[in-house]
């Protein structure tokens, strides 16, 4: 009994996040019921949409890929006290840059694919250096600057596909990328593509960087306590700029992978809000590179499931954004859940452990 209790206390963050998630879904259920929708029916169509067939499951996975990569992008910044809300813009720029490299040059696949992915990462990373400079040298809150910078990124991309580049099709879009720049489809006739490997590699990279290198250690130290980090001689500004760059580069990579694996070109309706979803994904994943994969799976299912659901029921697809908002709100209010949770788990007589402070 005591061991279970101790485990529940040690893994408090995971369990309370889970409770926050459950509470959010309860709120969503109540909201659906109160607008005259049947939550049970909604759930049935949701599950069918997300996992009902090989095609649907593959579709879910194809959404998990960008969500997971973008989730790591937000996490790696947040670990260093950098809240990059500009992932949407960086992702779009990365997608466009990679699409251009994908169609404009002819190269063997071994060079072409890495080059186009690199172009995407570079575009996102460089764009993130603007809010990095604004935060470190001009002390402008990065939530403000990164959200504002999403607009010019979108307008720029629109300008490029609608006016600057050769137009193809009805929707403004770039030409299709060369076969050599595409990520292989792993299950034929579905959207399950090799980007899944890139996503895993990104998580592994972030994990090693944050947990097993001194630079990663310093980044986390900045995230924990800036003045203490500065006192210990850590170059706080440098680490923050690096966090911005990596966050933006990974976001750009998410866009490049989406281009190389799913759309094979950049069009004007490219991202269904992956940038904003990434915030929720990262928070539910506890900003941990592997936790993000789990929560991305959850939200990937949410996205395909709700899209399918909105076809069969009267529930609009905007429900995804709403769920995002409710989840982040509960995560922000987690201290309420945490105190209740600890009270229940610890029972009436708080157990003491080595290194743990009793209340």
């Amino acid at each position: 009994m005591d061991r279970i209790r101790r485990f529940l206390i040690r893994q408090e963050a995971i369990f309370t996040t889970f409770i926050a998630l459950i509470l959010s879904l309860v709120v969503v259920g109540v909201l659906l019921a109160s607008t005259g929708r049947n939550p049970g029916e909604a759930f049935y169509y949701f599950m069918r949409g997300a996992f009902g067939s090989t095609f649907n499951t593959a579709d879910t996975i194809s959404r998990v890929i960008p969500l997971s990569i973008a989730g790591v992008a937000f996490s790696i910044g947040a670990k260093c006290a950098v809240f990059n809300v500009g992932i949407e813009g960086q992702l779009l720029l990365g997608a466009l840059a990679s699409a251009i490299v994908g169609y404009i040059v002819k190269l063997p696949a071994v060079i072409h694919l890495p080059l186009m992915l690199l172009a995407g990462a570079l575009a996102g990373g460089l764009y993130a250096l603007i809010p990095a400079w604004l935060k470190t040298y001009r002390r402008i809150n990065e939530i403000l600057s990164t959200i504002m910078l999403n607009y010019p990124a979108f307008f720029f991309n629109h300008f490029m596909v609608a006016k600057a580049l050769p137009i193809t099709g009805v929707v403004p879009a770039t030409p299709f990328i060369e076969d050599t720049a595409r990520l292989a489809t792993l299950i034929p006739e579905t959207r399950f593509h090799a980007g899944v490997i890139v996503a895993l590699l990104v998580s592994v990279f972030a994990y090693i960087l944050l947990q097993h290198t001194s630079i990663g250690y310093e980044m986390r130290a900045v995230g924990q306590n800036q003045s203490a980090a500065r006192f210990h001689g850590i170059p706080v500004e440098k680490r923050m700029i690096l966090a911005f760059f990596l966050s933006g580069a990974i976001a750009g990579l998410a866009g490049a992978v989406e281009t190389a694996g799913v759309h094979y070109r950049y069009n004007d309706q490219f991202s269904p809000g992956y940038g904003y979803d990434s915030i929720t994904v990262a928070m539910i994943g506890l900003l941990h590179p592997f936790g993000v994969i789990i929560s991305a799976t959850l939200f990937g299912a949410l996205k395909t499931g709700i899209l399918d659901m909105s076809v069969y029921t009267q529930i609009p697809r905007q429900l995804v954004t709403l769920i995002n908002g409710i989840v982040v709100l509960f995560v922000a209010a987690k201290s309420m859940i945490v105190s209740g949770y600890l009270r229940v788990v610890k029972g009436k007589n708080p157990v003491t452990h080595e290194g743990e402070v009793t209340e």
Partner: protein
């Protein structure tokens, strides 16, 4: 090329540009003034954009179903207060990170307004047309040349928007409540010593802020245009946030900053039509408000102005 530079200047810089500046500034002024009150009390609410969005949505809904824009305005204010209360509870009582809480409020409101719009009207990204607040026409202004073109035939909400900075100036610096408000942001412990609870002050300030964001949002959907469309606030909440920084959190500064950003927006809209697309693409002008706002913040920022204790939760016992 038959368009000379002088001709463009002549078609752009007219009295109607000043008229549009005022018209566009109104929502930013309400939001900026609201945020100034909040920040003075030591709280940073990044969720302005979201609360404005819900204000715009509620105003359109209220106006549509009652036929009266005044009910719409009331409905917008009530919605904004409820969301403001949620923010206050999480940020002040639970002492969560204020930036993240504001972000959460923003995301929640984007989702909620989009979702409810579909649930209620079940089509497209727009509400139907709604009745708007009255436009005020003053007969005596007709005889005064310049003022007539600028201030006549503006929304009824222009008058409170232009008065607000003066009222807040008096409130901040000439009343005891204003002193308490500023003390809550500068040194909450000292305020507690005199027997005023900083928590209460911060709650009231946050609600007052939400009240004004609500009006600012409502102005967009039931006055500037006559319908609600998805994400119609389009960054104005964040621009208001920038105006508070740029304006050094003082009534005069923030007011001038709001009007300046309103001018930027009016200017880019005018330039879009005055300059042909092949010469300078519309997207350049559309990016202008966001880029210039950041550039201006980067160039002019002063760190002396803001309240000392902003963004920090208040703990009763000092730690």
């Amino acid at each position: 090329m038959n368009l000379t530079f002088a001709e463009i200047i002549k078609t752009v810089f007219t009295l109607s540009l000043v008229y549009s500046t005022i018209r566009i500034s109104i929502s930013i002024i309400f939001a900026g003034m609201g945020e100034m009150i909040v920040e003075r009390s030591g709280v940073l609410n990044i969720g302005i954009e979201g609360i404005m969005l819900m204000g715009a949505f509620s105003a359109a809904i209220g106006s549509y179903f009652t036929g009266s824009p005044w009910w719409g305005l009331l409905f917008a204010v009530l919605t904004a207060l409820v969301i403001g209360l949620i923010f206050a509870f999480i940020a002040i009582t639970l002492k969560s990170n204020q930036a993240i809480t504001g972000l959460a409020i923003f995301l929640l409101c984007v989702g909620l307004s989009g979702f409810l719009l579909q649930v209620i009207f079940a089509h497209g990204g727009n509400s139907p047309m709604v009745t708007t607040l009255p436009i005020i026409h003053l007969a005596f202004l007709e005889k005064i040349p310049v003022l007539n073109e600028i201030f006549n035939d503006q929304s009824v909400l222009m008058y409170p928007a232009l008065l607000l900075p003066f009222i807040l100036y008096i409130f901040f610096y000439r009343t005891p409540w204003g002193t308490w408000l500023r003390a809550a942001g500068e040194n909450p412990r000292a305020l507690a010593v005199v027997g005023v609870n900083p928590i209460t002050v911060r709650y009231l300030a946050t609600l007052a802020g939400a009240f004004f964001y609500g009006i600012g949002g409502a102005y967009l959907s039931i006055s500037q245009v006559s319908l609600f469309s998805e994400n119609m606030v389009a960054g104005r909440g964040f621009i208001a946030l920038a105006a508070v920084i740029f304006g050094n959190v003082t009534p005069r500064g923030v007011f001038l900053a709001c009007v300046f950003f309103g001018f930027m927006d009016a200017l880019q809209i005018t330039l879009q039509t005055a300059i042909p697309d092949y010469l300078i693409a519309r997207e350049v002008f559309m990016s202008m408000p966001y880029v210039l706002t950041l550039l201006i913040l980067a160039g002019f920022i002063k760190r002396s102005g803001g309240p000392a204790d902003i963004g920090n939760p208040y703990y009763k016992e000092s730690r």
